[in-house]
């Protein structure tokens, strides 16, 4: 029987571990806003509107990373603007509004002002702080007039004994969820949406 070279086995095992994504890593956090948890909220109290959702802008001071850990960058697996944009679309649709660029009643523009993960290193434990700041502007498509500007801040704190990308992602997931829940339950936003004249009834 031919003997397998130990170095080859070691390389294979390392390859498998790398591909599996298990353990601590500093790249590609799969932060997301799960569709299953989205519910109708205060935003649904406005009559159904046709909303053009513009691509989310990135207004972060540092767009290359969301944090650092022991000299390495922590980044998300998808662009931050895509993650937040997807969450915005889910909320608008779930609350009974139509996302369209045609005969729109209102234009919704989002901008990510912060999307960061801070790791506060103690002696035997670490605290993760996730923070998402989203600016939302509603504008009238006919006049271009700004109807509302709001900022939603979602922060999540968690203390852990051991570093792991799962914990990092969990903290960012919660921070994003809190931001989106504040957006969907904002009475001022719902009120502006309710007052809009529709394209069909100018």
């Amino acid at each position: 029987m031919r003997r397998q070279h130990p170095a080859r086995i070691a390389v294979l095992v390392l390859g498998v571990l790398t591909a599996s994504g298990c353990g601590v890593k500093t790249a590609g956090l799969d932060v997301r806003y799960p569709e299953a948890s989205v519910t109708r909220s205060l935003l649904a109290s406005a009559p159904p509107r046709r909303v053009e959702v513009l691509p989310v802008a990135d207004r972060r001071a540092d767009t290359r990373r969301i944090g650092t850990r022991e000299g390495s960058d922590i980044v998300t697996s998808r662009p931050v603007t895509d993650i937040v944009g997807e969450a915005l679309l889910l909320e608008v649709k779930k609350n009974g509004h139509t996302v369209t660029g045609d005969r729109k009643d209102v234009i919704l523009a989002g901008a990510v002002e912060e999307f960061r993960l801070d790791v506060v290193g103690g002696y035997s434990s670490r605290q993760y702080v996730g923070r998402v700041v989203l600016a939302v502007t509603l504008a009238d498509p006919r006049s271009g007039e700004t109807l509302l500007i709001r900022r939603y801040v979602g922060i999540s704190r968690r203390v852990v004994d051991k570093d792991s990308d799962n914990s990092w992602r969990g903290v960012m997931d919660v921070a994003l969820a809190r931001t989106m829940h504040d957006f969907a339950t904002d009475p001022e936003l719902a009120s502006v949406m309710a007052r809009l004249l529709t394209a069909f009834n100018p």
């Binding site: 599996s20 298990c22 353990g23 519910t39 109708r40 801070d118 002696y123 799962n166 919660v174």
Partner: protein
């Protein structure tokens, strides 16, 4: 033997791949309560503990540096836990001292009442409820009979916490809050949630401990934010699963 290696590797890969799977945040437990129109909000849960949490790595790291110079393993094994205990003891004493100073500055503020009042204001603005009322005691039988739901609000911990590694001396206000909404009579829980609420701003801890008005203002803002957060999560869960 050689043939089994790829199989074993494949199994290892599959089992490890699970570690990276996305785990969505646990949603607060809730059932639909669109029919709830009259709500009583009751601050409850006993006293709130004020804490100053700095996650200081010192003097523990210095102890570790010293321990590195000890060549005898048996001594090292015995001294390391002792060093950890001393580290915790020193930091506990420092933080407890600051917490006591801060508590004196914040005398008269009832965290659970401030959170409950802020929650009431937030719920009122929605127009979803006919009546949202706060009562600072247990509701009477008549009040229970008239209410569709009773929300209990607790603030087990509040205080200051370090939220960034690089900025020593700058802390943020925080409040860890809990809310539960139940139907009077049956006790059926319609919604419950807990939130770690942190101020977006950082403030110098020394100013906080020195300036009574500044300290009170900062903590009121955090507690009001906590009430809004709790209310927003309650509102978000109103049509849960629909």
């Amino acid at each position: 033997m050689v043939r089994t290696i790829p199989v074993v590797l494949a199994l290892v890969a599959l089992s490890l791949a699970g570690c990276a799977s996305s785990t969505p945040p646990l949603p607060p437990s809730a059932r639909p309560f669109d029919d709830v129109r009259r709500v009583l909000v009751v601050p409850s849960g006993g006293e709130s503990a004020f804490a100053v949490v700095e996650y200081s790595a010192e003097p523990g790291r210095t102890f570790d540096e010293i321990l590195k110079w000890i060549p005898w393993q048996p001594y090292l094994a015995a001294l390391r836990p002792a060093a950890q205990l001393v580290h915790r003891g020193i930091n506990w004493a420092l933080e407890a001292d600051r917490a006591a100073t801060a508590t004196a500055r914040l005398q008269g503020i009832s965290p659970r009442s401030v959170v409950a009042q802020s929650m009431v204001r937030t719920l009122e603005t929605t127009g979803w409820f006919d009546e949202v009322r706060i009562i600072e005691r247990e509701p009477t039988a008549e009040e229970r009979r008239r209410a569709d739901a009773i929300v209990r609000v607790a603030v087990p911990t509040w205080g200051l916490v370090r939220v960034r590694d690089v900025e020593a001396g700058l802390l943020s206000g925080f409040a860890d809050v809990r809310g539960q909404m139940a139907m009077p009579g049956t006790g059926v829980v319609l919604w419950e949630d807990s939130q770690d609420v942190t101020s977006p701003e950082q403030i110098p801890v020394e100013t906080f401990l020195r300036d009574r008005d500044f300290a009170r203002q900062e903590m009121m803002v955090v507690l009001e934010r906590a009430g809004q957060r709790l209310a927003n999560e309650l509102l978000y869960s109103r049509s849960a699963g629909r």
